[in-house]
Subunit: 597 residues, 2 copies
Amino acid sequence: MFEYKAPMRDYKFVMQELLTCDKHYQTLGYDEASTDMVDAILSEAAKFTEQVIAPINQIGDQQGCHWENGKVTTPDGFKDAYKQYVDGGWPTLSQDEDFGGQGLPHSINMVVSEMLSAANHSFSMYPGLSHGCMSTLEFHGTEQQKSMFMPKLVEGTWTGTMCLTESHAGTDLGLLRTKAELNEDGSYKINGSKIFISAGEHDLSDNIVHLVIARVTDSPAGTKGISLFVVPKFNVNDDGSIADENGVSCGSIEHKMGINGNATCVINFDDAKGYLIGEKNKGLKCMFTFMNGARLGVANEGVAASEAAFQGSLAYAQDRLQMRSLTGVKNPKGDADPIIVHPDVRRMLLTQKSIAEGGRALVSQLAQLVDITHAGNSDEDKLAANNRLALLTPIAKAFLTETAVDSASYGIQVLGGHGFIKEWGMEQLLRDTKICCLYEGTTGIQALDLIGRKVLGTKGVLLNDFIDEIKVFCKRNENNSVSLLAHTLVDYVELWSEVTHEIGIKASANPDELGAASVDYLMLSGYITLGYMWAQMAKTAQDTISKNPDEKDFYLAKVQTAEFYFARVMPKAHGHLACLASGAKTMMSMESEHFSF
Amino acid sequence: MFEYKAPMRDYKFVMQELLTCDKHYQTLGYDEASTDMVDAILSEAAKFTEQVIAPINQIGDQQGCHWENGKVTTPDGFKDAYKQYVDGGWPTLSQDEDFGGQGLPHSINMVVSEMLSAANHSFSMYPGLSHGCMSTLEFHGTEQQKSMFMPKLVEGTWTGTMCLTESHAGTDLGLLRTKAELNEDGSYKINGSKIFISAGEHDLSDNIVHLVIARVTDSPAGTKGISLFVVPKFNVNDDGSIADENGVSCGSIEHKMGINGNATCVINFDDAKGYLIGEKNKGLKCMFTFMNGARLGVANEGVAASEAAFQGSLAYAQDRLQMRSLTGVKNPKGDADPIIVHPDVRRMLLTQKSIAEGGRALVSQLAQLVDITHAGNSDEDKLAANNRLALLTPIAKAFLTETAVDSASYGIQVLGGHGFIKEWGMEQLLRDTKICCLYEGTTGIQALDLIGRKVLGTKGVLLNDFIDEIKVFCKRNENNSVSLLAHTLVDYVELWSEVTHEIGIKASANPDELGAASVDYLMLSGYITLGYMWAQMAKTAQDTISKNPDEKDFYLAKVQTAEFYFARVMPKAHGHLACLASGAKTMMSMESEHFSF
C-alpha cells in the first residue's frame, strides 16, 4: 500500500499562482480567506487526511459495511475518524455562518474534499453527500426547514443523502413510483422504496436527513409531477432535538465492485413524514442544485483518483529495478535500472500526472466559479459563472472520471503483476473509481447533457463564449515562451467549432446523431479543455522561470508536463474525432433482434 | 447474473464459412476432424460449459481459494466440475494419440477453450496451464520425460504449471535466483522461491507438474544462464505411479483483484528433484514454446471476455426500459423504450460485438497456423506459419486483452449503477479480465516484442508479408460489395507502413523511440489487423447474401457489424497514430526526481 501525501506544492501553484485566489477572495469579500489562513487550513487538512483518513482506506475495503436488522455498521475506524472530522470543524468550513459555519469560500472546501477522496474515497462520501444536502436546503428550503436541519448538518452530527433512484427508474426519473400524500398539518406522508442510496444508513451520525423525490398523489405522470421532500430518519422537535423514529428504514445494502466502506442502501419509506422543498412538481429543478454540485464533486473525485494512482505508480516505478534502459545503464550499482527509465512506464506516469494536475486546475477554476455564484458582486457575474459552470460541469464530470479510470488502470500496469494484488492498493483504486463514471449521471448522460442541452440547446452561445476566451489566450501568447502550445491549441479549438457545427446540422435532420456523437464529442471537449488549462499553467510557469526562481525545477516540470500533455495525451482527441465523424448510420442500422443469433 | 450461451452460430461462420476448416483439416491429414465431428464436439462443449462450468463462476469469485498449511482448497463445485471435465475426455482433445490423446487439431481445442474461459475464467486456467506444460514437454522433453509425465497430463489427472516469476524478477528473468545443482543420477536439486504461480497448488488433481526456470550452479549470470526443469509435486516411479513427496510446497496464495477461483501461489522449492528439459542454459528458448502458446491462449481469453461482456450487456439492454428513443416511441406498450434504442448504448454493444467476433476470427486463424506448425506438409509451410504467428501473437495478446477490458468496462456502463453491483456479474468480468493485460507479459512487453523483435528485428520482412497479403485482398475487392471497406483498409495499411518506417529511422538514432512508440504502435496494429478480419468476414457474408440464403439476417448483421467496426472502432487508430507521431522527446525530458515535489 502506497502512502498518500497531499500534493501541497501543487495546491499552492494552482490556487495562488495560476488562479490568484487572494485577489479572487478579496473581490468576493471573503476577507478571512487570506493566504496564511488558506495555507493553515490546507496544512491541517493534509495532516488529517494523511494520518487519520488514509490509514483506514484499505481496511474499509476489506471489511466493508455490515447490515443487520436494518442497522448498518461501518468498517473499523470509520466512526472514530468521523468523530475527529466533526471535532476538527471540517464540515463547517464553507458553510454559512448563520448556521454555525465558518463562511469560507467553497473553493477551499473543494481542495479539502480532494484530499479526503484521494485518501479514502468511501469515507469521503459521507461528508460529500451531506454537502449536497446542505446546498439544496440552503437554496430551496424554507426558513423553518433550514433552522430545523442546517445547524446539525453543518456541525456534522447529522448527515444527509439524496434519494432519487428506484429499481425501475435510474436515468429515467419520470418513471418513479414513490408517493407523497398531503397530511393535514401541511407535511407529507411518503411511501416507496429507493435504491443505491449512498450513505443511506450508517453508525456515524445521530440523524440522517434524506432528500427524496416523490410524486404527490394528484400530480401528473412523468417528470412534470416530481416534487422534492426532506425526510429525516428521526423526526425533529421544534427545538431541533431528536424526537421519535420516522417511517424510514434500510432494507439491505449492496455488494459492490468497490467503495465498500460506504453503505449503498435500499431505503424504504413507510408512511414517513416529509416536508416539501421548493414548489410542488418542481422537484427536478431543485434536485439539480444538488446534482450540479455533486457532479463537480465527482469530477473532483476523478482528480483525486488520478493523483492517488500517480503517487502509487511513481513510488513503485522509482523503486522497482527491472531491465536496463535501452540507452545505457542508469543505475550501475544495482542489478537493473529503476523502471522509471523505460519510456512506456514514463508514458503512463506522465499521463496520470498530466490528468491529475490538469484536472485539479480545471476543478479549482470551476470551484472559483461556484464561489462567484454564491458571493459574486453582480447578477451579471453570477450569471456568467453559472453559464460557464453549466458548460464545463458535464465535461469535468465525465472526462475527469473516465480518465481517472485510465489512470487507475495504468496504476495496475505500472506495477505489473503486483498491480493485481490487493495489498498494493492499486486494484482497489480502480474498483473504487469506476463508480465515478456511473453515479450522478453516467458518462453517457453527461455527454447528452453537454451536446444536447448545454451546446446545441443554447445555440452554441455557452461554447462560443468559452472558445472565444481560449482564442484570446492563444492570440495573446502567439509569440512568447508558450507560442507552440498556443498555436496547437488554436487548431484544436477550430476543430472543436467545426465539429460542433457539423453535429448540429446532422442532428437537426436526425436526432439520433446527437446520441451517436455524444460520448466521443465529450471526450474531445475534455482533451481540449484540459489543453487550455495546461497552456495556462505552462504560461504561469514560464513567467516564473524567467524570473530565475529558487524552485526552478518545479516550474520546469510544469512546462515539461504541459508539453507531454500536448504531445501524447491531447492527440487522443483525434481518435474521437475520427469516430464521431462517421455519424449515426452504422450504429442504428442493425435491428435490435439481430444483435445475436 | 447473465446466462452464458456459447455462440454456436458464430463458430460455424468463422470455422466453416470464413476459414473453411474442412479443407484446412483435410490438407493437414486430420481425417477425423470432419464437419460432423467438429459440430458434435462443439455442441457437447457448449452444453458442458453452459451447464457445468458457468454456474460455478460467481461462487468461485465469492469464495475464492483457501490456503491452510500448504494445502489449497478450490471453491465449491470446482472439484466436481474438474472431474467431469476429465471424465468427458476434454483434456485429451488435441493431444498426441501416443499419450492417450484424441489427436484432433489444436484449433478445435481453441474454440473449446474460449467457451471455458467465457463461462468461467478462473476454472479455465487449470486446464489452460496444463496445456502449455504439455506443449513444452512434447517439443523439448526427452522420451523418458514424456512417458513419465505426458499420459497423466493428457488424461487430466495431473495438471501443469509454469514457474518463472520471482519476487524481484518479473519481466527481467535474467535476475532469477532459483538454483539447480546437478545430482549424481543426472537429475538436479532445485532451490528457490517462485511467485504468481497460477494453479500452483490445488485439490483438483493427483499430481502437479511444474516447469521451472532456474540457474545451474556453474551457469553464467543473466538470461544466458537460465535452464528449464520439470519438477513434479510428487516424485514419479518408473512405471508412472506416484512415489514420495518432492521438496515442493505452497507457501501462501495471493489476494487478488479477480480470478479468485484460481489459486495464485508462492511455490517454494527446497532440495526438490528436477529434470533438465532441453539444453542447459537454453531454458528461455524452451520456455518460449510455452509462452507463445500461452500468449495466444490469453488472446483467446480476451475474446471470451468480450463475448461474455457483450452477452451480459445485450440481455440487459434488450430488457431494461428507460427513456424514449429520440426519434419517437419504439415500445408503445411499455412505460419506456428498451435502452438498446439509444445510440450510445448501441455504440457500446456494437463495439463489444465487433471486438468479440473480430477477435474470434483472428484467434481462429492463428489457431489454424498452430495446426500447420504441428502438421504442415512442408517445412516451408511450417516456417511461414511460424513467422505469421510470431508477428501476430503479440498483437492478438495485447490488443484483444486491452479491448476486452474496454468491453468489460462498457458492460458496466450499459448496466449503469447495476453494473457496479456484484450480482449482475459484469464487475467480476472486469476484475477477472484485467489480469490478461498483465500475465504472460504485460501489454508493454508485447508492444516491445512487436516493434523491436518482430517488426524492426526482422527488417520489416514479417510485417511486409502480412501487408502484402492485405493489399492483395484489397486489390481483389476494389470493385465489389466490400469495395468501400477495401479502399478504407488499404489507406490504413499505407499509414501502417509509413509509420513503421518512421519509427525505424527514429529508433536507429535513439533506442528510446522504440519504447516511446511501442504501445500506441501495437494498438494501431491491432485495429488494422482486426479491420482485415472484418473485411474478410464482410466479403464472406456478402457472397452468401448474393445467394439469397435462409439465414439472410445473420449475414446482414455480419456486414453491418463490419461497417460499424470500420466507422466507429478502427478510427481509434488515428488517436494512437497522432500520439506516437510526437515521439519520445516529451516522455524522456523530465528528470526522474522531478516527477513529484
